[in-house]
């Protein structure tokens, strides 16, 4: 049971950055695994949340229906869902007594994905609403008069507001990538299976290994930076 890096690095605060870089360069298998789990789970949940959140956001942001303002307020309110509460809520659904107990999903990456999906969807939806709400009405009219059907009008609106919608998706990704409560409750921080960067950070913090925790936090930020760069490249194409 060796954890060469996690155990041996003891450093002072200002060398945390160096050790973070060391961690990345060293490619310590445990760190690599932890990062991989974080990235995989967060990307999948963000992807799913995008598929749900962007259409919801478009629907609420573009249509005028009664109760629209209420729906918007509810979406905004859901931004304040604490991860612990989402975690507990999904826990009840997935636990052996729960509705989906038969699938035995608790303490798996799938459970984390479900929880993070619940977390990210309202974020992406609410920010998509903000992005498209003030859109020039001529975008829709122009698309319609050039023969676009409803679906095509939507993709046109997305294309016009691509920067703001990608910002919404980035905000969603960042939130789930940095969240901790859901991963802890639904993943269980089980070593090698559901231990991701944030639960590892909490774990090291609990042990009093603050510097190591901060170094892991920097690793997380470096990865987030990489993902952002990637998104920006996609966006430019």
């Amino acid at each position: 049971m060796t954890r060469p890096i996690l155990k041996e690095i003891k450093m002072d605060f200002f060398s945390a950055i160096i050790s973070a870089l060391k961690m990345i360069v060293s490619l310590d298998p445990e760190i690599v695994q932890i990062c991989f789990i974080s990235i995989k789970v967060s990307l999948i949940s963000t992807l799913l949340a995008t598929c749900a959140g962007v259409p919801i956001g478009l629907m609420v942001g573009l249509n005028r229906f009664t109760g629209r303002r209420l729906v918007r307020t509810i979406l905004n309110t859901l931004l304040a869902l604490p991860t612990v509460v989402i975690g507990l809520f999904v826990y009840y659904l997935l636990s052996s007594q729960g509705v989906f107990g038969d699938f035995d999903l608790l303490y798996t990456q799938s459970a984390m994905v479900i929880g993070q999906f619940v977390l990210a969807t309202p974020i992406i939806a609410a920010l998509t609403v903000a992005a498209v709400e003030g859109i020039d009405p001529r975008v829709r009219l122009t698309a319609l008069t050039l023969g676009a059907n409803s679906r095509q009008v939507m993709t046109t609106i997305i294309a016009e507001k691509r920067y703001a919608i990608i910002a919404a998706i980035i905000a969603g990704f960042s939130r789930v990538f940095a969240e901790f409560g859901i991963s802890m409750i639904l993943g269980g921080n089980i070593k090698g299976i559901t231990r991701n960067i944030t639960t590892a950070i909490a774990f090291e913090t609990g042990k009093g290994e603050f510097e190591l925790a901060i170094a892991l936090g920097i690793v997380l930020l470096i990865i987030a930076f990489g993902v952002n760069l990637l998104l920006q490249l996609i966006q430019k194409k």
């Binding site: 020039d136 001529r138 975008v139 122009t142 698309a143 319609l144 050039l146 023969g147």
Partner: protein
């Protein structure tokens, strides 16, 4: 199916909040023609074009398109919108290249890329912007941008082309070439064109039919000689005083601010004043003489500019010259109050 008319509007009204901005008891538009709508700002021209291009439903009333009533259900509208394309007064270009803008509608139709490319380049050539294909749409001048919007509509090859002030912001040369394009697609491809303009000369040059919208109502006169003012009454005679001493007698019931139109065909020109039942008799010098189709358009400065139409024969008979004084006579009842 009666497709002599592309549109038949019955009792169509449009209102925003309580304000009624369109009120059209009956309007039939023939297919295969260039129909021109004129009228003052806020008359409802754009609102009517939005209804004709199925972007907005009327508040009440029925619209028939090619003999079929329009139900304003989603599928119905999608089909119809494929056949009608509108170039908005305040057009919008997508934030991409000129090429992609013009290709937009063709791509939504799912055409083959090589065909799209061909059509787009043809469209850009029509508006003289072949070199602009790769330019970002945001970097165009006002007129260039408008012409791209026109090309984008033209490549769609719709059955009906609605144009809201298509040559505003466009220079004279291109105005002419765009007029030619409009004429050409109307003649060679039978596209029905419905357009608005504030340039009456353009309306006469292009239009098979011209109709006017004032205060949301169709008026049958042309839009020459539209004046507005406060209706006044002295000795039972109702009139509008356009300038001190310049009165136009009208036959109107409701007082307050009104628009009036004087049909230039009903104005009689003579070298001398003559006694008649006509109450409006105004004199001034000729400031403009021009051919207008088969007629001659004569502008007389009677304090305001008044336009009259006469035949070429009358012109020769009267031997009118620029700068000559002449008298215009018309009846109270021929002053239209919409």
């Amino acid at each position: 199916m009666n497709s002599e008319f592309i549109y038949q509007l019955t009792d169509v009204k449009k209102s925003y909040r309580e304000k009624n901005i369109l009120d059209i008891p009956d309007l039939k538009l023939r297919s295969g023609q260039i129909q021109i709508m004129v009228g003052p700002n806020g008359a409802g021209k754009t609102a009517l074009l939005n209804i004709l291009s199925f972007l907005e439903p009327p508040s009440t009333g029925q619209v028939q398109f090619l003999g079929q009533p329009v139900t304003y259900q989603n599928n119905d509208l999608a089909d119809r919108r494929q056949q009608v394309t509108l170039v908005m007064q305040n057009h919008f270009l997508f934030s991409t290249t000129v090429f992609n803008n013009v290709a937009y509608g063709l791509r939504k139709k799912g055409l083959d890329p090589t065909i799209i490319k061909e059509k787009v380049m043809t469209g850009l050539a029509l508006v003289n912007l072949s070199d602009f294909a790769d330019r970002p749409a945001a970097q165009l001048s006002g007129g260039e941008s408008k012409r791209v919007a026109l090309a984008r509509a033209l490549v769609m090859e719709p059955s009906v082309l609605c144009l809201d002030e298509p040559t505003a912001n466009i220079d004279r040369r291109h105005e002419e070439s765009i007029e030619n394009v409009i004429r050409q697609i109307n003649q060679s491809k039978g596209v029905s064109v419905i357009m608005t303009t504030h340039d009456l000369n353009q309306a006469y040059r292009l239009g098979h039919q011209i109709f006017s919208l004032v205060n949301g109502r169709i008026v049958t006169t042309s839009m020459e000689n539209v004046f507005s003012g406060e209706l006044q009454e002295t000795n039972g005679l109702k009139y509008l005083e356009l300038k001190p001493g310049l009165k136009i007698y009208v036959d109107a019931s409701h007082p307050g601010p009104i628009h009036i139109c004087i049909n230039p065909r009903y104005i009689i020109l003579s070298r001398e004043k003559f006694k008649s039942s006509a109450r409006n008799v105004l004199t001034g010098p000729i400031t403009n003489l021009a051919f207008q189709g088969n007629l001659v358009r004569i502008t007389i400065n009677v304090g305001v500019e008044l336009t009259a139409f006469i035949t070429k024969a009358s012109l020769d008979e009267l031997g009118l010259k620029l700068g000559e004084k002449i008298t215009a006579t018309f009846k109270t009842v021929s002053v239209l109050v919409p």
